[in-house]
Symmetry: C2
Subunit: 325 residues, 2 copies
């Protein structure tokens, strides 16, 4: 799969469509590998008022449960995985960029891993094309925060810009943190790679990057809100149209079967664990009380659902898949 | 959508593939209706040992909650829908045929509504083709029971056989009940249509229909088991390969967010409510205790998950969608 994907990223629309839906596969022998191995393309469309949303699957990769939750015993974490019918050695971490068509614009929120992740990731462009979108016609790319699984899909390792005509919008507090050379110099070794990666991705064309502030409508129907803690500038998005609303909470939680259920647990990815936990409690409490539809970057595809209070945590209820919008 | 679908049923593979994945849509204007309105094709592949399973979406249709549950107050039913974040007026009833590739055979379990249902149903053939299957190459069609949403996809209203080369296998007790002319004559008016429909579907070629008994392996890796109550011959299927197992419980429940959560509730479709309830309790208890993966005909697509004990009922946990098998 890895080889096909890399080839497809380079080969463009026809080949990408070919992976998703091989020409002639409908009448070819059902014993052929092309038919057997093929999953349905990873996109899912739904509407919030007049805004069309497409969840785009960038793939998933296994993440060991060992050394994953900072403040819970591994036995507890395995028990939670078992209760959620997830594997107890390593769960599958899913990556879910989102395309919005709003106010005549095609807007992408986060980009997936590009060509920097496991062979089972980096599928965003293939799935975007399968959904009928052309990366060259994406108008705006909004970035929630600067972790590699959110930004690396902007630029391939060879320097290629994946969305060549898009305005790139990033949270001002996130830019301020990661692009500060003095802070990079002082940062622990383990974090230096993230500082350098932000420069690799945004550095070549920094003038194309527009910074946005929290509390503002940054694109038609999309308001950026402070969801910091996971990173200093981690941003959630309230998407509103025609009286309907969706809150894209991005990395407010990692896998909801673990962290919506156990909101006080801190994944190692949370840079300020206490602040992230407080933000998580506050936003999940509000979503449960107001019955708000949520989108999550790391929920199982198509990564949208609701939460309800359950014991000391919350239960995640995925939205029902519909063939028609 | 209705018109397109009917046309496609007649027009065959190329057109069907066209709905699922319009040629050239990848580079056409994303504002075109073909791109905007298109959902990903409704199929989902997974494996149970060496058996490849494909859940095939036949569509969904709204079903009012009023007069739906025989033995619960409408206020309770609406409350359960609300707790599951389903609409409180009418829920969406989903229909999910299943294709298995096992022992070199292509086997379909249940067929959807064909051209007899709402315009948002009857998508099984389109989605089968999108998944790379040719109806003419289906070797066996196994029927769980004779309700129209399970058998009508076998034969169009004009008499066309949809799976012309398939052996049709039906539960012997179900055949005995519905094909008994004396019983039809005595049956209440409301039930006569189902007797007549069974004759419409199976009557033209009754010699092609093979009856099977419970407790036997009826096709490679597929054992039929007694799940009666919903209908006199309602059958579930245990699918086993290489130490893995899936139980397809078919109509053991209607929507699991209502009837897995409240297993003592009786949907009006259950012909023998007491027996159906006892069967439901017994099979869900066993599945929860043994952590068995289940498939449901009426669960939200892709209609597979696990159940765990929760209060006096069970909680349904869908399987995590994976792009790779």
């Amino acid at each position: 799969m890895s080889v096909s994907r890399r080839t497809l990223l380079a080969a463009g629309p026809a080949a990408a469509a070919g992976l998703a839906m091989p020409a002639g596969a409908q009448t070819s022998s059902p014993t052929s590998a092309s038919s057997e191995d093929r999953q349905a393309p990873g996109f899912y469309r739904y509407k919030i008022g007049d805004i069309e949303i497409t969840a785009v699957h960038d793939g998933s990769a296994p993440r060991p449960l060992e050394n994953f939750v900072r403040n819970a015993d591994i036995a507890e974490v395995r028990k939670a995985a078992e209760e959620a019918f997830l594997p107890t050695d390593a769960y599958q971490n899913t990556f879910t960029p989102m395309v919005l068509r709003s106010g005549g614009k095609t807007i992408l929120i986060d980009t997936g891993l590009g060509d920097t992740g496991a062979p089972t990731t980096g599928l965003a462009v293939t799935n975007l094309r399968a959904a009928g979108f052309d990366p060259a016609r994406v108008d705006i790319v909004i970035i929630s925060h600067f972790h590699g699984d959110h930004i690396n899909g902007l630029r391939l390792k060879d320097g290629t810009t994946v969305y060549p005509n898009a305005e790139i919008m990033v949270p001002a507090p996130e830019w301020a943190f990661w692009m500060d050379d003095a802070r990079m110099a002082q940062s622990p070794e383990g974090l230096k790679g993230s500082f350098q990666n932000a420069r690799r991705v945004f550095g070549p064309n920094p003038k194309d990057v527009k910074q946005f502030e929290w509390g503002k409508e940054i694109a038609p129907g999309i308001t950026a809100i402070d969801a910091s803690g996971h990173t200093p500038g981690h941003t959630a998005f309230v998407i509103q149209s025609a009286g309907k609303s969706l809150t894209h909470v991005v990395d407010l939680t990692n896998h909801p079967r673990l962290f919506v259920r156990h909101p006080d647990w801190s994944a190692i990815f949370d840079m300020d664990a206490d602040k992230a936990r407080a933000t998580r409690r506050r936003m999940l409490d509000m979503a449960a009380a107001e019955r708000t539809q949520l989108a999550f970057y790391h929920a199982p595809f198509p990564a949208t659902g609701h939460v309800r209070k359950e014991g000391n945590g919350f239960e995640y209820v995925p939205v029902q898949w519909m063939s028609a919008m």
